[in-house]
Amino acid sequence: MSAACSVFPFAAGVPAFLDPVSGNGGEADEIPWSKVASLSALPEDGTPTRFGIVRERVTDAWTTLTNVPVGAVYLIKQGEQVKAFNLKCPHLGCAIDHRSDRRDFFCPCHNSSFALDGLVSDDTSPSPRGMDGLETKIEDGFVYVRFQQFRPNLAEQIPLT
């Protein structure tokens, strides 16, 4: 009976405490297209250019915000197509640098290096997979990206939900 007494206040808070893993947030919304840059702003020679992603409307717990920066991407123009990579390293989430002198990507945290096509370019890189590619489309001369995050440090690319 004394045990019941001491467990009671903890029990009262268990559901609330576990809320973040309960799936109470409901179905994840479809990932919106973010307008990132004008196509003409990208170098023709395929040099990666870095852009911030700003989402029109983000709800963070009780606050609904407008025009919120949610991350950044590298855009690479390849003919009429555009490739997009999430700036975050798939290893443990540091921001990846573009090294223009070596024409590659390099993560300054744990020294993963990636080729311009996003694949791991050095066998000693700790990253288990290449940079995270993102869906893109071009409309009226503007590049749109479906920006999302993925689970770190797995060979497979699994979206974070």
Partner: protein
């Protein structure tokens, strides 16, 4: 296993500690009257645990305090339950405090050598009440905001340092971010810390002197374990159960509308502070908040000395009973005064409505960074009610009240506008007895006007029977969102009555057909028509020089076009509550 326990015991001595804790002697055997201290310890433990869990959801700032509590209450799994347990356990603690104090004094457990421990108890009572007071503000809702403002204004009554003390407590001269952060630090840090320190001292002294057994002793002496522990646990479980029942019955703790310094709310503290609140109606604040409480506390501190003689002991018990009965009577008075006060009742109703409304809007639109209070400030429904109350209700009513639900003091002098332009409203209006009643034009010059005396009064039975057809036509022209449109046939019939059988057209225009001296009914009751009437009733199109006292709200720039639009949309949006919709 035993080896591990032996190893631990060798290094910590925990066996001796447990033995010391459990084999406390209970002279006269275990008794139910000893459970209150354990119940309080249990309640405090529950508050620390649930409070820490609540901490994981709370964000102390003006724009996020209410909002984070709203999120916990309505969007976190079991959040309402957690909050409810903390809320009702706090109330249970106050009740348990009183029971514990009464038991100690009645049993004489406060006398030598336990004076010091009695004083610890008084200090603990003060800290617990401080926790209640600071916790009440944290949700930053109207109730907490306005009630705590009263409490912090009383701090200024403290002699010499009061003004500085008040500034220190609220973190400045006005309520703001620092009020929330300071109250939160007090509630979750300073006061619980003080309480733990005092409880340690309280229990240490209690153990040092042992249980004070009330004579006669019913049984042989026993030990704390297992008899008294069992009784204590049963009592604690009963407390927990009561708190769970309250939480489920009321579906958690209430959360009022977000704090709004621009909109008043009748400040009421938690029920256990109501006696102090009531006292301030009879005595000056300095006496009610400082002198009398200080006198009571001083007298309680002196009780161990007063109680040295049997007479003194009886005085002490009598004094506490008087205190309890006095507080109870004041509480009863406070409740019954509020119950008899229609304005207070309306204010509570409005707050309930606002609380529901803001949750509705927040669920739908999300809360902007400026906080939930802006949602209400921009809500058209809420704005319309307030606009009506402050601009129209001095003459017009709305369902018999001022638009916000408050009773109106002065005599109504113009029509009740709930359900304006609806069939039901028009049918009544076009009945002579209703037309000259206070609900319609009874308070205006139109009571003796042509429409009343020359038209409606003169209607014979046949003409009276035709009135609903005109009412139906006019309300159809109004196109109210809650009424079904007329069939083509009924519309034509309505026009026939309007033009020929009743001859309304002799004075009123309709569909720009003719010129007339009475108000133009073209587009009657529509958004444009109502906007124009409110904007300038003295216009030739409407009452002209016959207009009786109604201001021209747009022409004289009393209201903006937007405000009139909000009012008109609201008037057109709902039927009157005392008529059926057809």
């Amino acid at each position: 296993m035993k080896a591990v326990i032996d190893w631990l015991d060798d290094r910590s001595g925990f066996r001796a500690l447990i033995k010391e804790a459990l084999y406390e002697k209970v002279p006269g055997g275990a008794r139910w009257r000893y459970v209150w201290g354990s119940c309080l310890t249990f309640a405090f433990f529950a508050q620390v645990v649930t409070g820490t869990l609540l901490w994981m959801f709370y964000s102390p700032s003006v724009q996020t305090a209410w909002e984070s509590v709203y999120f916990l209450q309505y969007h976190v799994w079991g959040g309402w339950f957690l909050r409810g347990i903390h809320h009702y356990m706090a109330q249970a603690m106050v009740v348990l405090l009183v029971l514990h104090l009464m038991q100690v004094v009645i049993d004489g457990a406060y006398k030598a050598p336990r004076e010091l421990n009695f004083w610890f108890g008084i200090a603990l009572m003060g800290v617990t009440l401080g926790l209640s007071l600071t916790g009440y503000l944290l949700p930053w809702d109207q109730k907490g905001y306005w009630a705590t403002a009263v409490a912090t204004n009383l701090i200024a009554e403290v002699p010499l340092v009061g003004v500085y003390l008040q500034k220190l407590v609220i973190g400045g001269t006005e309520y703001g971010h620092h009020t929330v952060t300071r109250f939160f630090a007090l509630h979750a840090g300073v006061l619980p810390g003080a309480l733990i320190a005092l409880v340690v001292g309280h229990i240490y002294l209690f153990r040092r002197h042992g249980i004070h057994a009330k004579e006669p002793r019913p049984k042989r002496d026993s030990y704390f374990w297992p008899d008294q522990v069992l009784k204590d646990a049963v009592a604690c479980l009963a407390v927990a159960l009561a708190v769970i029942v309250l939480t489920i019955y009321f579906h958690g703790a209430p959360l009022g509308p977000p704090a709004d310094p621009a909109n008043e709310f009748p400040a009421r503290p938690e029920w256990y502070f109501l006696f102090l609140f009531q006292l301030l109606k009879y005595v000056p604040a300095f006496w009610g908040a400082i002198i009398i409480p200080a006198f009571v506390v001083l007298l309680m501190v002196a009780q161990p000395f007063i109680g040295k003689s049997e007479k003194g002991h009886r005085f002490n018990i009598g004094f506490l009973w008087c205190l309890l009965i006095g507080a109870g009577a004041l509480t009863f008075l406070a409740f019954s005064e509020d119950r008899a006060n229609k304005k207070h009742f309306a204010a509570v109703e409005e707050a309930d409505w606002l609380a529901k409304r803001v949750v509705e809007i927040a669920d739908k639109q999300g809360i902007p960074p400026s906080g939930a209070v802006t949602l209400l400030r921009e809500d058209h429904e809420n704005r319309a009610r307030r606009l009506f109350s402050s601009n129209c209700a001095s003459c017009h009513l709305y369902n018999g009240h001022d638009g916000r639900g408050f009773p109106v003091d002065s005599n109504q002098s113009a029509p009740d506008l709930a359900g304006v332009a609806s069939r039901e409203w028009l049918e009544e209006l076009l009945d002579y007895d209703h037309y000259v009643s206070a609900k319609y034009f009874g308070g205006t010059a139109f009571k003796d006007g042509k429409m009343a005396t020359k038209v409606l009064k003169k209607f014979d039975e046949k003409e009276k029977a035709l009135v609903p057809k005109v009412a139906a036509l006019l309300s159809d022209i109004a196109g109210l969102p809650y009424q079904k449109p007329l069939s083509e046939k009924d519309r034509e019939e309505g026009f026939d009555v309007f033009f020929d059988e009743l001859g309304c057209i002799d004075c009123h225009d309709i569909e720009d057909e003719d010129e007339g001296s009475a108000p133009d009914l073209t587009g009657y009751g529509s958004r444009d028509w109502l906007t124009a009437v409110v904007g300038d009733p003295s216009h030739e199109r409407f009452y002209g020089k016959d207009n009786d006292r109604m201001p021209s709200f747009a022409r004289d720039e009393k209201l903006t076009e937007e405000e009139i639009g909000i009012l008109v949309d609201w008037l057109r949006s709902k039927p009157s509550t005392n008529s059926e919709v057809r």
